[in-house]
């Protein structure tokens, strides 16, 4: 399935299969270790209850974890070798521990530049349990002709 994705297969409006991810403290902790970002706002509940960096006493997920999950929408739909060339992500609301993210992608731009140079822009949006937007990404993907 993955290797067969071609530029002409994914016109503007193509939806990518959504993913869901529960943001447990274990998920946050494991991401902290893997990314080596040990900021206490992510991993130290007692410090968070005192510091309230985001106005909440809870820990929050790494923005880079949300960015990774938004990027994962593309690689899970189109394969690990998908030609991702650029990822721009904006984080619009802190993701508190205990939330479940639903992340969806849609092809928004289709760039027929020429053989070997064609690419699309996938817009990926992440929403929390309440349906609030927590992150939005613009992901440029080069695709085979």
């Amino acid at each position: 399935m993955h290797a067969s994705i071609r530029f002409n297969d994914v016109p503007v409006g193509t939806s990518l299969h959504p993913i869901r991810q529960e943001i447990s403290q274990a998920f946050i902790d494991r991401y902290a270790v893997a990314s080596q970002d040990f900021n206490p706002v992510h991993i130290d509940p007692e410090w968070c209850s005192r510091a309230q960096v985001f106005g909440t006493p809870k820990t929050v997920a790494h923005g880079m974890a949300t960015m990774s999950l938004m990027t994962s929408v593309v690689i899970r739909a189109w394969g690990a070798t998908a030609g991702i060339r650029c990822i721009e992500s904006k984080f619009t609301k802190p993701v508190e521990v205990g939330q479940t993210l639903t992340i969806q992608g849609v092809v928004r731009e289709w760039h027929p530049i020429g053989p070997g140079r064609n690419f699309v822009i996938v817009e990926v949006r992440a929403q929390d349990t309440n349906g609030d937007l927590v992150g939005i990404s613009r992901i440029e993907v080069a695709l085979a002709d």
Binding site: A34, D37, V53, G79
Partner: protein, 185 residues
């Protein structure tokens, strides 16, 4: 138990075991928004030799299950490089490892920091076995709606060839005294 101690159960790699996990330790030495120098380019404190275990750890933490990303034996037979494929945002792990707890770029460890937006440009995927060198330049700082923003450009190279760029932006406490408020909370 402090968070930096509790997460030790998840340590998987040699780099992770050696890494200074307590970001509240040594905050007095971190660069701050009001003192950081804009413009000069310099190397990070250390290089990053990409090991299979590093990539596996990041991919698994993101929840990936594609055997090209999590099964080294499968990847040896089916991956274009013969090696497991790194998640595109793996660049961020390299960045935190290469920036030391002292000196240039330490503001990325600041307690009280918030992450508003990020950009990663991938010129070539990171491949297991490469030695990645990182250079850093603080490109800009600004105040907008009362928040203090700072943007750093990180450039990742292997064997002299540019692999990717990342523009990392944070909202920071504006002064060391402001950082202290979070560091001792």
């Amino acid at each position: 138990m402090k968070g930096s101690e509790r997460v030790a159960v998840y340590l998987e790699t040699e780099k992770q075991r050696r890494f200074e996990r307590d970001f509240l330790a040594g905050w007095e030495h971190y660069e701050t928004w009001d003192t950081v120098e804009i413009g000069p380019v310099g190397p990070a404190a250390r290089d990053y030799v990409v090991e299979e275990e590093d990539v596996l750890s990041y991919n698994r933490a993101c929840g990936e299950t594609d055997p090209l990303m999590v099964d080294p034996e499968y990847a040896r037979k089916h991956s274009p490089t013969g090696k497991i494929i790194a998640h595109p945002v793996f660049f961020t792990s390299i960045c935190f490892y290469c920036v030391s707890p002292k000196g240039r770029g330490t503001w990325i460890r600041t307690p009280g920091a918030r992450n508003p937006f990020q950009k990663i440009e991938i010129i070539e995927p990171i491949v297991v076995g490469e030695r990645i060198s990182l250079t850093m330049k603080t490109e800009d700082r600004w105040i907008q709606r009362g928040k203090h923003y700072i943007t750093n450009l990180f450039e990742y190279s292997a064997a002299g060839k540019l692999k990717g760029r990342a523009w990392g932006t944070l909202v920071l406490p504006s002064t060391r005294e402001e950082v202290r408020r979070f560091a001792v909370a």
